[in-house]
Subunit: 430 residues, 2 copies
């Protein structure tokens, strides 16, 4: 049974704070093991990758080859059913056209003092995309990470994916092929992250590493951060559904379970002003759970982390939504647009009952890599901007320097950075 909270009860503030602070993931400390793996890859390069893959993935890369060949990528794409290929192509086209709108504009202008100011956006030169192996190998994630990098204009996109027992899901390779990723290595774990950051004989280093992974991968990304850029470290995923009394209990139940089936640490929350709907949803969830293949995962998530919060009216739910800062927010209500406009902190908002979150996972066009675990308070979903960076530009002529110089010299003096001041005054002769 999920927790049920009612805002009008006197202990609500306390219980809500406890609920917000509850941990959903045991943090595993693999820092030292990961540091050892990274040092090994830096010291021995390909040999370390081969040895570590033999140990962790039971695969002989000396024989199979580190790199996945173009022929293998082509074969993977050819091997999947046409309707799957079409669905992936459909998703890719929609992601591409939406992300194309995110390309930032350069700026350059001359101000009243005659100073030219501006900035120029350029893509990162080389990006590494980590793709998990096994059951968490999702072709949709390949598209969500690779397509924005392509749109940003990244010249070199490298994918690493572990091959446990020599196997990589053909769907993942097919998605890479569709997304135009040609440089793929069958290596995973902290060793793959180390190879991307520092390079080996076979793998040239990249400048930024993105993509989800297990505790080892996450720890490795943190450790190489600085040497290369990384995306956010993803936590367990969550959905919050805000619904009025006219919403469909069955649709809501289906969406809560779509979240819950991801992971036992996933979280599904319903906030509603209708006790009746709350009861109906709880019943509907129980009914649907039974027939789900991933019943064990979904029921554990719903039991341990699920929540139903009752509010007097939906407007009063907004501050709670902002405190939860959910990765995904669905709004099933007559005034869904108006409610959505009031929310400040959410990774993505799915407006209206005909927008199940699963559409955003696959084919909506928006990115499904979104800030988890309340981090929507300070971060955004993956976008083209994550694969670009901005160079600021400043240009003065003698006249502009005359106008700006004295204040700069003054501030350099009070900061006791004399050489700063001199670098200005030597030009203005003051």
């Amino acid at each position: 049974m999920p927790i049920r909270l009612i805002t009008e009860q006197p202990d609500f503030p306390e219980r809500f704070t406890t609920f917000l602070g509850s941990k959903r993931e045991a943090s595993v400390d693999v820092q030292e093991q990961v540091a050892t793996i990274i040092a090994d890859v830096r010291a021995r390069g390909d040999d370390a990758l081969i040895d570590l893959s033999r140990t962790f993935d039971r695969v002989d890369l000396a024989k199979l080859g580190l790199r996945v060949t173009d022929a293998e990528l082509d074969a993977a794409l050819a091997s999947i059913p046409p309707e799957t290929r079409e669905a992936l192509a459909f998703a890719k086209a929609r992601i591409e056209s939406h992300h194309a709108r995110q390309k930032p504009a350069d700026d350059s202008y001359r101000d009243a003092a005659g100073v030219v100011l501006g900035h120029r956006w350029t893509s990162v030169d080389a990006v590494g995309l980590y793709v998990p192996g096994g059951t968490a190998a999702y072709p949709s994630s390949v598209l969500m990470n690779a397509v924005p990098a392509q749109v940003a204009g990244v010249p070199r996109i490298v994918m690493v994916v572990p091959a446990p027992d020599g196997e990589i899901a053909p769907l993942v390779l097919a998605a890479a092929r569709l997304a135009g990723v040609h440089e793929v290595y069958r290596v995973g774990g902290a060793q793959a992250v180390a190879a991307l950051a520092y390079g080996t004989q076979t793998i040239q280093p990249v400048d930024k590493i993105v993509g989800p992974g297990n505790a080892y991968v996450a720890a490795a990304k943190r450790q190489v951060f600085g040497k290369v850029g990384i995306d956010m470290v993803a936590g367990p995923s969550e959905v919050l559904i805000l619904a009025d009394g006219n919403a469909s209990a069955d649709w809501i139940a289906a969406d809560l379970l779509a979240q819950a089936e991801h992971d036992t640490a996933a979280q599904s929350i319903l906030i509603t002003d209708s006790h009746e709907l709350a009861d109906q949803v709880e019943k509907a969830v129980e009914g649907m759970l039974a027939t789900l293949p991933r019943v064990a995962i979904a029921s554990a998530s719903w039991r341990d982390h699920g929540a139903i919060i009752l509010v007097p009216d939906l407007a009063s739910a907004i501050p709670l939504v902002d405190r939860i800062a959910p990765e995904h927010l669905e709004i099933h209500a007559a005034n869904a647009d108006a409610l959505a406009a009031k929310v400040r902190h959410a990774g993505a908002i799915f407006v209206g009952a005909f927008t199940p979150e699963a559409i955003g996972d696959y084919v909506g066009g928006t990115n499904h890599v979104l800030p988890t675990a309340r981090s929507a308070r300070f971060s955004s979903g993956l976008s083209v901007l994550d694969f670009m960076k901005r160079t600021s530009i400043l240009k003065l002529d003698a006249g502009a320097l005359e106008q700006l110089g004295p204040a700069a010299v003054r501030l350099a003096a009070v900061e006791r950075l004399d050489a700063h001041g001199r670098s200005v005054s030597i030009r203005t002769n003051r």
Copy 2:
């Protein structure tokens, strides 16, 4: 003597790679001490801050008070000379008007399938600004961090600054007051970062922490990352000057030293196609060094990390610039604009001989918080975007869901996420 490299010499590629890889900072491992401090602040709140400040800053905050009062801020602003106040106000106005142009636009559109897609930018609710104490307490850094947060619309900006022996530089408090920062606490180090991330009885937690600091502060920021957002962790600073034979050796020498005086780990590099200029600059640096108050720091930096690289022509320097990915790039050359346009990786470019980097440190209007230590390959200087985040928005009606649904159901099926598929098919009855 700085290192001198000549691209045409046969061992150049090797020597340049060694130069790029050379470490400029001893990395101090303070992880465990910082973890202990953070745990203490989480457990004991204000009491921990008081005890730790007594130990590290020799100050009794129980007596002096954690919070800097409005009266103290006003008094600090009143205490500084009018011309300094005016220079700070001038800098603030220029930073503000330039950063106002960085405010991102929301987007919303309906595509051919009838899907409404878009995104909305909102500010972070609360930002903590770390300001170092002692000699590194720069009022210009207060402006460079606080003003973009103000422009972003951050409702709550908190500043923390250590008060060694009870003292805080009046200039720093004056800059805070000018920038409209009213919530200031006299606490520093890892304990201040912990207080900002987790809160204490007196300090409410924030959502993001920015600003430079020593090894303890940097380690603390890394450790609280995830609980809150952080900006990049700054390394030692560098300038690269690209100059043709007509450039002024004196101006270049002044700019190289303005960088070198920051820190013994700072780096100043000249790339030129003129052996004559190279010799003149080296001589000019020696001449100016003698009269600099910070001669010890500047000469150590120039001796240990300085470099002069000779190229056959400036166009062939561009790939070297991109590999160095300097924080600051100055271009003193007839075709400065054309050269600037070719550079892909630099934090900021100062175009033409009348644009000394020090102008960008204070009054140019662009931000002086820039990516160091080659991180311009994958990151950008501080901007308004660092204080905002993007919520993506998706809205389908029944017709749009009919069009997108089948592909989503197909992809959910191949990813074996049945509840995902059902959440779509339950609405489309397929």
